[in-house]
Point group: C2
Chain length 233, copies 2
């Protein structure tokens, strides 16, 4: 665990044990720096993370404020850390349906910016939260970045594996989504009926230097998925 991640944990605890309520002002950066005995840049990085999680809000020239607690069971769309990272306190599991090395389809080649003969990993999974189906995921991975992938890796957190073992620096992602009616295949996978509502979700992940390496299509179970975005002006 990196130093700033420890500070994040300690500050989450500090806020949660009730010292602070929504709207309360936190000590300033200088005071926090001394309290935790770390550098200013570590505090700034920790505060950025807490802001992303929606725990605090930094008002320019005014101070650092505690925000409302996120509602339980809501998926925070504001981080690219993968499911397990976002669903704190819930048990996230998955079932690999299919994993293959294939020639990249044209649409995927365009998104991942690949040559016409490029191979990709194709993965299909079902994701569960506390035993309930959250979504069906269909992903393609750029083999130039994701050098190796197999079923046992895909059953765990792919992103942890990418960061820790392949040293991939995950940078940012584009999320596109829309609401639609379920088709036959997705309905069967999610154990719902054709025509039921669903959230169709496409996410493209990039490294810190802008290389697209993961193009995922997700279909969310409308009754089991609730989303949260802490937004800032």
């Amino acid at each position: 665990m990196l130093k700033y991640e420890k500070i994040v944990q300690q500050m989450v605890e500090y806020i949660e044990v009730g010292h602070f309520q929504a709207g309360d002002k936190l000590p300033n950066v200088e005071t926090l720096k001394e309290k935790y005995n770390v550098s200013k840049s570590t505090i700034i990085k920790a505060l950025e993370k807490l802001e992303k999680y929606g725990m605090i809000y930094q008002a320019r020239g005014s101070g650092i404020y505690v925000r409302n607690k996120q509602r339980e069971g809501y998926l925070n769309l504001f981080s690219t850390g993968g499911f397990s990272d976002e669903m704190v306190g819930l048990e996230v599991t998955n079932k690999v349906l299919n994993i293959n090395e294939i020639k990249a389809p044209e649409s995927v080649r365009q998104i991942l910016k690949l040559d016409s003969n490029a191979q990709v990993y194709q993965l299909e999974r079902l994701i569960y939260v506390d035993g309930n189906i959250l979504c069906y995921e269909h992903s393609y991975f750029n083999k130039d970045v994701v050098l190796f992938l197999n079923e046992s890796i895909a059953e765990e957190s792919i992103f942890k594996y990418l960061e820790q073992h392949l040293k991939v620096k995950i940078g940012f992602s584009d999320i596109y989504f829309t609401v639609d009616k379920l088709d036959d295949k997705d309905a069967e996978l999610l154990k719902l009926s054709k025509g039921n509502p669903c959230l169709k979700y496409e996410q493209v992940f990039y490294t810190t230097t802008g290389i697209p390496f993961d193009c995922s299509h997700l279909t969310y179970h409308y009754q089991n998925s609730h989303f949260y975005i802490p937004s800032q002006k």
Copy 2:
């Protein structure tokens, strides 16, 4: 227009006229500072905005990169500036159905943290994009912050009015959403059928000092709404 907003405009132009493609590195802060002849803090603020819009990505210790262009017609959920701000290039209009001063319902009082006898503005609108129904909006405004509101203000951008006339400092917002089936009332308003899919969206806006002032419930037309989130690790 503030100085950094002008820089944002100029940089958008600079990127768009084709000098830079997705994945290209931009000059560093020092160079940009000299190029635009402004302070470092103005450049940093402009870069923050461009990052929020999903136009660039700042990799710590590595540089500033241009991102892919957002797909046309997608609503960027990453800013709290209201619809007109988010749908650049599209014509956003609305129709006020109803505007009243009422005693705040219990659920609204809790979210806006109001006393038991507090009055709120209640507003119902239909929002259109290029003449197509985007969503039905049902909002409540805290009168301690939104001192005055009427139909002609609600027909324009409420947020511009709040910032420019009432000097409200809009800080952050919590967005919660889920997918559902349309009920009778919403189906009629959106000119769809009962049971059709929809996105149910709740957004609570806060001032920079954490005062909740707007609690909005939106029901999106599933065929006319497409969403985009530029996300960062």
